[in-house]
Amino acid sequence: MDFLKDPVAFIAKVLSDLLAAFLPAPVVSVLLLIVGVVVVASFSLVLPLFLIWFERRVVGYMQDRLGPNRVGPEGLLQTIADAIKLMIKEDITPYGADKVVYNISPVLAVIAVISMWAVVPFAHNIIGTDLNVGALYIVSVGSLGTLAIMLGGWASNNKYALLGAFRTVAQLVSYEVPMILSLLVPVLLARSMGLNDIVKAQDVWFIFLAPVAAFIFFTTSVAEVGRTPFDLLEAESEIVAGFHIEYSGMKFGMFFVAEFLHAFTVGALTAVLFLGGWRGPGAETYPLLGVVYFMIKAFGGYFFVILMRAALPRIRIDHMLDLNWKFLTPLALGAIVVIALADKAMEPWLQTLQPGIAPWARGGVLLLANLLLVLVTYLLLSNSARRMRRAAERGASGGDGAGHHDEHHEEAPAAPAHGEAHTAPAH
């Protein structure tokens, strides 16, 4: 067995040969399982050390300043310095807080994010566990993170933390709906829920087959993390920093790590579901090349998340919920219907083509269907915006007492304008 062809099996064989000398067989297999779990968890916990530095440097350059560049070469050790600072801070528990819940909630937030990495495929044979319901598993552990935030806000015994937690949970639970719907599109195109199967089915990257679904998944996942432009809940200028106001020291550090790791997981999942995961020239024969391609694509997704943070302003809570229920959810439902119809109707025609051209033909037709959907959405939105503008002008010229009506009508076109601003960058 070759290390280059199958690294995980090779290492497992070496370890089991080593341990079988002085341990019975079932214990060896359990130990190997534990080693695998520890490797996956450690990888996802060590990664934020690099991610936080990456983000701070990139955001710094986008804001025309240098990021941290003193501590260590090019500032790489800055995160370690910050971690040490957080660890030696005083561990405060507020008066009247529910101790057990207060301490558990940051741990639960980190657990929710690390568990997502158990099903992410790094290469065709390097994966934590190849669940056949991988896509649904990701949604289910994501909802554990929502729970952690709710508990953290309640356990702080602080009115403002509770309010912040309510708003956070309202946002997170609302944005789960279009996320699950848009997650259904790659599952539909790949005919399977397993993440490795989805990657293997991407002869043409799914972002070309279903750009609308990719846009919706990316936007709603960024909203699930709680990053700008959806970070109303924890921004310093909003309701006294939201649900984690009473957390300091390493507990806040855990929320912090969970957020950055979740942001990178969003980039990694977009890469797996829409950008072809580990696929690339030579990835089938050399799995380590697959890992390299996957990390490049995941960092590309993460860079896009950072770009959105640096460039976009924050959305208000009622605009945010309007955007979700009045724009993203109907668009996601429309995308599923259009793509499912187009894919199924094309199937008999695709059988008649040569196997080399068939994926590209499928990609072309689905891309056209998506562009048609985008065109229809744009026409609908511009019509409704025009109608609202006409009503506002009529209201302004109609009477003097209609001053405050103007404000209301001025705000209403802002929601579709936000929607259009979001449609524009992805196409």
Binding site: D98, L131, S140, G142, L144, T146, L147, L162, F166
Partner: protein
Amino acid sequence: MTALQIIFLIAAAATLISGLMVVTARNLVHAALWLIAALFSVAILFVLLEAGFLAAVQVVLYIGAIAILIIFAIMLTRRVMQDTGPQTNQQWWVGAIIAVALFAALFVVLQQVVYPEVTTAIPPDSLKALGNSFVDPNQYMLPFELASVLLLAAMIGAIAVAGDKK
């Protein structure tokens, strides 16, 4: 005692202990947390029963939606931040007697049943078969549509009952 049996015993113990803590906890939010532990243990049991899809749906639906809804309702319907006083009503001993008697009766019945030996294995594409059964007119398409209408009615009803009427 195979490994699977040990895992089953641990999961079953977790479920029952969490369930007991749900019904006896004084602080309602603690009871909700024990409920989440019980629901998670049931998801583990579903995995043991090789119904992975149901386990994932259990976590998404029960823990990610229903438990959060219950915690919201607890937080919106309390007058003080801490709970005081007993949480059981005056006839709790009648409830205990009924529950224990019912369990004793069920246990006796279950001991006397002759369990059939079935050797058909679970087909490898049971997930696809489940998905097909949702939309096949000869199978369960009608219950699927009825379930969606039920959920729509529940959604409209909840908004109508609990919505703010300005």
